[in-house]
Structure formats: structure tokens, C-alpha cells
């Protein structure tokens, strides 16, 4: 039981716990904070998997930009904690049951698989910024350009929707 395993377990627990907390916490602000915790946990995993670039981007983009945006919106609407009345219990129950059973089905299916490659943890330069950069601007230049269209449309959309008139 090496350090890696331990850290994996810790990070996993952290991720799952924060995820659950996010769902449970009444106050939107809290859930956002829990979500940020979740993101950090996942970044930890990335590091563990030796994907530094993604780890960083995850922190910057998600935990940084996106979550802040969320935070702004929530603050803007200042939804106080009690604004959300409890949903009827039966439906929640069904929801949890179905979600859980989905998880069970998938796990039971996947876990039955024999002989799969282990994850090569340390070493390998696939995740290094240098490699990724090169790949991104050579092999993946087309999707990269196309994603600009995505952003354009998102931008236009945000304007069309958000603009007061």
C-alpha cells in the first residue's frame, strides 16, 4: 500500500464526500463551495495521474472562472437558504433509488471484467504541457478552430439573451 494508493483513496473520499455535501447543502453558496472542493480533489487526481496541464486548467477554468461566475449569479439573485422548499420526499426517494441502481448496474457490469491494463501512474510524458501543446496545434488544429465557432455562438447567444431591451 504505497503513498499513491493512500492519496488516491483520500482524494476519492474527498471528492465523493464533497459531491454529496454539495447536493445536500440547502444554501446554494455552500454547494458552490463544496463543488470547488470537489474540483480541487479532481485536480489532485490529475496530478496523481501525471496530467499537470489538466490539473492546472481545471483549477483555473473551473474552480477559478466558472465557479466564480456561478457565485456571482447566485449572489446577484441573493437566494437565501430557505428559498427552496423541500421537494416531496417520495420523488426524492425514487430519484435516489434509480440513480443508485444505475450506478449498481454499471459497476456490476464493469467490475466483472477480467484482465484490464493497470493505469500507468508515474512517468509518461503524455500529460506534459509541451506535448499537449504540440499535439493541440498540429493534429488538433481543426477542432481547435471549430471550437472558436462554438465560442462565437455562445458569445452571440449570451448577448442576445442577456442584453436588456
Amino acid at each position: 500500500m504505497g503513498i499513491i494508493t493512500i492519496s488516491f483513496i483520500l482524494l476519492s473520499i474527498m471528492a465523493i464526500a464533497s459531491g454529496i455535501m454539495m447536493i445536500l447543502s440547502k444554501n446554494p453558496v455552500n454547494s458552490i463551495l463544496w463543488l470547488i472542493v470537489l474540483f480541487f480533489a479532481i485536480s489532485g487526481h490529475y496530478i496523481l495521474l501525471n496530467a499537470q496541464f489538466l490539473a492546472i486548467v481545471n483549477i483555473i477554468v473551473y474552480a477559478g472562472a466558472i465557479m466564480v461566475l456561478f457565485l456571482f449569479v447566485v449572489m446577484l439573485m441573493n437566494l437565501n437558504a430557505e428559498s427552496e422548499p423541500v421537494k416531496n420526499k417520495r420523488l426524492q426517494f425514487i430519484a435516489i433509488i434509480s440513480g443508485g441502481s444505475l450506478l449498481l448496474v454499471l459497476l456490476s457490469a464493469v467490475m466483472s471484467i477480467k484482465d484490464m491494463h493497470p493505469v500507468m501512474v508515474a512517468g509518461g510524458n503524455a500529460g506534459l504541457i509541451k506535448t499537449l501543446g504540440k499535439v493541440l496545434f498540429t493534429d488538433y488544429v481543426l477542432p481547435f478552430e471549430i471550437s472558436s465557432v462554438l465560442f462565437l455562438s455562445a458569445m452571440v447567444g449570451a448577448v442576445v439573451i442577456g442584453k436588456k431591451d
Binding site: 459531491g19 487526481h45 495521474l49 489538466l54 435516489i96 444505475l102 450506478l103 484490464m116 509518461g124 462554438l150
Partner: protein, 110 residues
């Protein structure tokens, strides 16, 4: 480290996301749950990429395993775009009906 552990982890996160979508009524939080699902996927992809990195083909071309991580990168891009649009929609709705409770959205039914 066994890949199954990662699969289990990301599936769990994924289902947490789903359950969140199902149980919460606040549009923003529902949306955040979706983000959780995306992150689960990202994690899984990275894990897989490292798994493949161990395989024979990886030896042949060094950048082989990068594909998945690039993919993750694009997922993040899309997520960002979605967030901008989604939040603007939510704001618009909030402007018109001072609520973002998805259960109040039932003018359209049957």
C-alpha cells in the same frame, strides 16, 4: 493502480451528479450537478489515457495517450461555453419570473 478503481470513482461521481439533477430544484444547482457529471467524465478519460499509455501502441508514438487529455481540454472549453449560455438563460428567466425553481416551470405540459 487498478483502472477499475478510477472507473468506480468516476461512475460514483457521475451518479452523484445524476441524483443531484434529480433531487434539486434550484436551476443553478441542477446545472452544477451537470458540471459534476462532466468532471467525472474528464477524470475517467484521463485515467483511460494513462491506461492506454501503458499499452504497446503507446510505445510506438509518444503522443498517443495525449488524445484523451486534449479531449478533456475540449470538454472544458464546451463546458465554459455552456456555462455562459446557461447562466444567461437562467438570469433571463429570473428577470421575468423572480424564481429559478425548475418546478415552477410547468406552463408547458401534456
Amino acid at each position: 493502480m487498478d483502472i477499475k478503481a478510477y472507473i468506480a470513482l468516476s461512475l460514483t461521481l457521475f451518479s452523484i451528479g445524476i441524483v443531484g439533477v434529480l433531487t434539486r430544484r434550484n436551476a443553478i444547482i441542477v446545472f452544477m450537478c451537470v458540471e459534476v457529471m462532466l468532471n467525472a467524465v474528464n477524470l475517467l478519460l484521463v485515467a483511460f489515457s494513462n491506461m492506454h499509455a501503458a499499452s504497446a501502441t503507446a510505445k510506438a508514438l509518444p503522443t498517443f495517450a495525449s488524445d484523451a487529455q486534449i479531449f478533456v481540454f475540449f470538454i472544458m472549453i464546451v463546458a465554459a461555453a455552456e456555462v455562459s449560455v446557461g447562466l444567461s438563460i437562467i438570469v433571463m428567466l429570473y428577470r421575468n419570473t423572480h424564481s429559478i425553481d425548475v418546478n415552477f416551470l410547468n406552463r408547458l405540459k401534456n
